[in-house]
Symmetry: C2
Subunit: 315 residues, 2 copies
């Protein structure tokens, strides 16, 4: 079993690549839920749904969440009622949130609900929320604290942030399914997701450090930054605002205690040696994933490296 | 204040007519909620919404509930998840249910929620649910009991019924707003709605008989049956199956203790004398409401009768 830790769009791309490169039941994604938001009584899980929709080949490729070519009739009607949600919800996407709400109300866990949804869409890869407990990423900005999604979507990540905090993380726990999956993982891949707010909450769950340390598989992180920029999302900007350099090297420093292998884009070649100096093996390759082929190729290169080069000269 | 008691489509037609014939704030509709159903965690209120949508000029004229020309993207997606609801919910209609759910979750009563929705749609007539308590119409059919909506929508009212029961009616109460409205009503009009399952639950609420008896306004019932048939819905069939004649006369018998005036369609002229013999005044007129003009005309005729002919020769 190969395990991928992921947030939304960037992570989902590599997960799709991995699903192409691995046998149908050989992949489990452990997905950030700290971006989840309650909206009109529904629980919206942007990262889980992006992974779900990406694997089902119905993801909106532009917006970063939701279903491709979705309509917004319900949203228009909500506007007519004077309740314009700041978070754009398409009609087909709404069905996911409605069904999730109904299943949660029936007493199912988010893990069970996610399994139902992905089975119904015919997926064979497993998608696990990082926790069934409620964690909420909040950012401090201009003297007040707001939920991450409000910063990211309503404010378009255009206001400076001063801190990031995961509300509820102290009492949240990784699920039994997450712990079991990690214990049996042949490799654990940190997808090219935002290190602060996508991978960050997963790693911040109490017990996660020990679970990853005990996990027998090699751990690999794929840089979400190329030439100091994120392909999608505010990772670079957030890192800078929090006083870090926005670079693959800074990402590698964040992950140095967690992984053995770092996957660096070939455009960042000059960072190979500095990252090696941190004590990490470095795989340099093209990490840009535009086409399905790109995704599968990157996934295969990572898997090949993990399973053939252990302890070899590439370090 | 003129008060209309109503269920769905037939009642909403006359309410629309009354809204044309009265000053903007001169009309209050008290609407059946015993057909309400829970669906995917939402509370669907077909009668309240039919009145709401009809007054807002967005009602689906064919289906009998929901918004005209609505799309069904969310429904299609629910089907993809293997959860085909038996109750057709359009996307714009969904917005109503979502907002209602959210407002109820915020602690608002159904009365407050309904007021919010109708204000947002710019309505001036007041729409009141008959109760804020949960009442559920259930029908016994073929040895088992099912919710009314399942009989009406999923079974298309094509199976014979043996009994009708209003689950929860003993502990439900008319709201304070309903009681206050009745106490100040200049006239109370029983709309041409199903006497068994639309007007029936309103009248069956504990305290309703006394409230109507105390109400100073004259009470008028409009026959929902013409030539023994309902223009919409299963009223005629249900009455027959429960051992009653399906006729305006049988409707008049049901209402004889409740109203003083009965509005009979001109096609049923021969029933005027039998209904008078019950002790009711009878207004014979064209009760078929196809166009907006028809609706306004019927409303005006009823109002004229109530306010000009009290105790006069027409009885």
């Amino acid at each position: 079993m190969i395990v991928a830790l992921a947030g939304g769009v960037g992570g989902a791309k590599l997960i799709l690549g991995l699903s192409q490169a691995l046998p149908p039941d050989g992949l489990t994604a452990i997905v950030n839920t700290a971006d989840d938001l309650k909206l009109h009584g529904l629980l919206v899980c942007p990262d889980l749904d992006t992974v779900l929709y990406t694997l089902a080949d119905i993801a909106d490729p532009v917006q970063g969440w939701g279903v491709a070519s979705d309509t917004t009739e319900a949203l228009q009607m909500l506007k007519r009622y004077g309740h314009t949600p700041w978070f754009r919800l398409g009609d087909r996407d709404l069905a996911t949130h409605l069904l999730r709400r109904a299943l949660l109300d029936d007493g199912k866990t988010l893990t069970q609900v996610t399994a139902s949804l992905s089975q119904a869409l015919g997926l064979q890869a497993k998608i696990l929320p990082m926790t069934d407990d409620r964690v909420e990423t909040r950012v401090r900005t201009q003297g007040r604290e707001i939920p991450f999604q409000e910063y990211f979507v309503a404010q378009k990540a255009e206001i400076p942030i001063e801190a990031v905090r995961f509300e509820g993380i102290e009492t949240a726990r990784p699920t039994a399914e997450v712990l079991k999956t990690l214990a049996g993982a042949k490799a654990i891949i940190f997808c090219p997701s935002n290190p602060l707010v996508s991978i960050g909450p997963i790693l911040a769950l109490p017990g996660m450090r020990e679970a990853l340390q005990r996990a027998p598989g090699r751990k690999v992180a794929v840089s979400p930054l190329v030439r100091g920029k994120a392909l999608k999302g505010p990772a670079a900007r957030m890192m800078q605002e929090l006083g870090e350099e926005a670079s693959a090297l800074a990402v590698a420093r964040r992950y140095v205690d967690w992984v053995e292998i770092f996957v660096l884009d070939e455009q960042d070649q000059e960072l190979r040696d500095p990252i090696r100096s941190l004590g990490l093996e470095v795989l340099v390759t093209d990490t840009i994933m535009n086409t399905l082929e790109d995704k599968a190729r990157l996934a295969r290169e990572i898997l090949d490296y993990v399973f053939t080069s252990r302890g070899q000269g590439q370090k």
